[in-house]
């Protein structure tokens, strides 16, 4: 990978490679150094990063499933789970987008939409067909809907977000080391979660920890809890970790 050179203007191509995470570590470090010394370059990079983030929640962006259909590709199998870690935007705005396809099942209304342990508040904004609203108790979502999360915690710490589908599988949507330690107060998590494919009940666990946690252990615990009690199990993290649970039913569009 090439690295920028002080003697010449930083090209648009290089900025795109930086913003999308294509530069190697040396190139990234060099770009960060140049941006720190050049406010115009920093503004240009910030603008492109903002455009990347806006793109992910833009209502004009067609769901990937549409593109697959147009390309004549078969739809993916139910219960397939996809997880992307996108380190492209910036070190401080690592982005993870998840598409979930779950085994179809009868839609059941969750008996308890939100439960809290400790006091982290979580708001989820739903982007549905170009309209944004807050996720409310008992709401049904649809494939293609997007969720953006705002976490409000009085102590701050490491934020981990886990998603459990109706088949019990657990994905780490946001890893604690990607966001880093957040300060007390409100933080809007970068990017969004895209819901995809079949119907079913899903649960999102937002956990704030004082120390850097191991999400893999929580994944295993959640899967065991599901095996014992089904999707409406009563798992919560042990110790000082504060948890917030969001639950929704997902229907086909």
């Amino acid at each position: 990978m090439g690295s920028p050179d002080d003697r010449r203007r930083v090209s648009a191509q290089l900025i795109e490679r930086y913003v999308t995470g294509e530069l190697d570590a040396g190139g990234r470090a060099e770009m960060s150094r140049l941006a720190a010394a050049d406010s115009a370059l920093a503004a240009r990079i910030a603008e492109r990063e903002a455009e990347h983030r806006a793109f992910l929640v833009d209502a004009r962006r067609r769901p990937y499933a549409d593109l697959l259909r147009e390309a004549g590709q078969p739809m993916r199998r139910p219960s397939q789970r996809l997880l992307w870690g996108i380190s492209a935007l910036a070190a401080a705005s690592a982005l993870v987008v998840v598409a979930v396809m779950v085994v179809p099942e009868a839609i059941e209304k969750p008996p308890d939409q939100v439960r809290l342990k400790g006091k982290p508040g979580v708001q989820a904004a739903v982007l549905h067909q170009g309209q944004t609203r807050l996720l409310t108790s008992g709401e049904n979502l649809e494939a293609g809907d997007r969720l953006r999360l705002v976490v409000d915690d009085p102590r701050g710490g490491f934020v981990t977000v886990l998603l459990q589908d109706c088949g019990g599988e657990v994905a780490v949507v946001y890893r604690p080391e990607e966001i880093g330690r957040v300060t007390a107060g409100r933080i809007e998590l970068p990017g969004s979660i895209e819901l995809d494919a079949a119907a079913g009940t899903e649960r999102l666990f937002v956990i704030v920890s004082d120390e850097l946690p191991d999400p893999a252990a929580w994944q295993r615990e959640l899967e065991i809890a599901f095996e014992r009690q089904g999707i409406h199990h009563d798992w919560l993290p042990a110790g000082q970790d504060r948890a917030h649970l969001l639950e929704w039913s997902k229907a086909r569009p």
């Binding site: 090209s11 648009a12 492109r48 455009e51 990347h52 697959l68 147009e70 390309a71 987008v97 598409a99």
Partner: protein, 172 residues
């Protein structure tokens, strides 16, 4: 290299979609058409994913598809009038000065490009949209610096004639 899977393309859609959209916007100028072209780029990427050899970056490969998608559209528009702008005074000048003029200049360049052969189009694209220096273009395309200079000079010279606005716009 393993063949690129549908999940990888989906990853790229999230990761590079905005960058592809930007290029389509620069080339086509019109927002709705830029979105269509961006989507069409990924439809083609899905169809032809087996052709990605991994020799270049995914972003470069997607940009090359977007380039062809947009050129198809520009060729379709070829008979339409020029958007009524001026050329940049020199290659690489597009992004300097006020942003509005830069956009106008890029649209003019985009309007002109279908009138040139593919190698020149590619050089013009790298110069005016990717903002590469002459030596960087030469390196990427595997040609000499002199060749790039000559081809871009030809582009400007012929563009002046095509626009027929040498006096009014003071093209360098």
């Amino acid at each position: 290299m393993d063949p690129v899977g549908l999940e990888t393309i989906e990853d790229w859609y999230q990761r590079y979609g905005s960058s592809v959209l930007l290029r389509c916007r620069q080339l086509l100028g019109q927002e709705a058409q830029a979105w269509d072209a961006m989507h069409q780029t990924f439809v083609r990427a899905i169809r032809y994913r087996h052709k990605y050899q991994g020799t270049g970056t995914p972003l470069g490969w997607l940009h090359s598809i977007a380039w062809r998608v947009c050129l198809d559209e520009l060729r379709r528009r070829k008979r339409q009038a020029c958007p009524g702008a001026e050329l940049p005074r020199e290659p690489g000048a597009v992004s300097t000065g006020d942003p509005e003029s830069a956009v106008v200049a890029q649209r003019t360049v985009a309007w002109l490009m279908p009138r040139f052969r593919e190698q020149i189009q590619q050089m013009v694209y790298l110069r005016y949209f990717d903002e590469l220096e002459i030596d960087e273009i030469a390196q990427q395309m595997g040609v000499s610096v002199r060749t790039v200079e000559r081809r871009l000079g030809h582009f400007l010279e012929k563009s002046r004639r095509l626009l027929g606005q040498e006096d009014s716009h003071g093209i360098a």
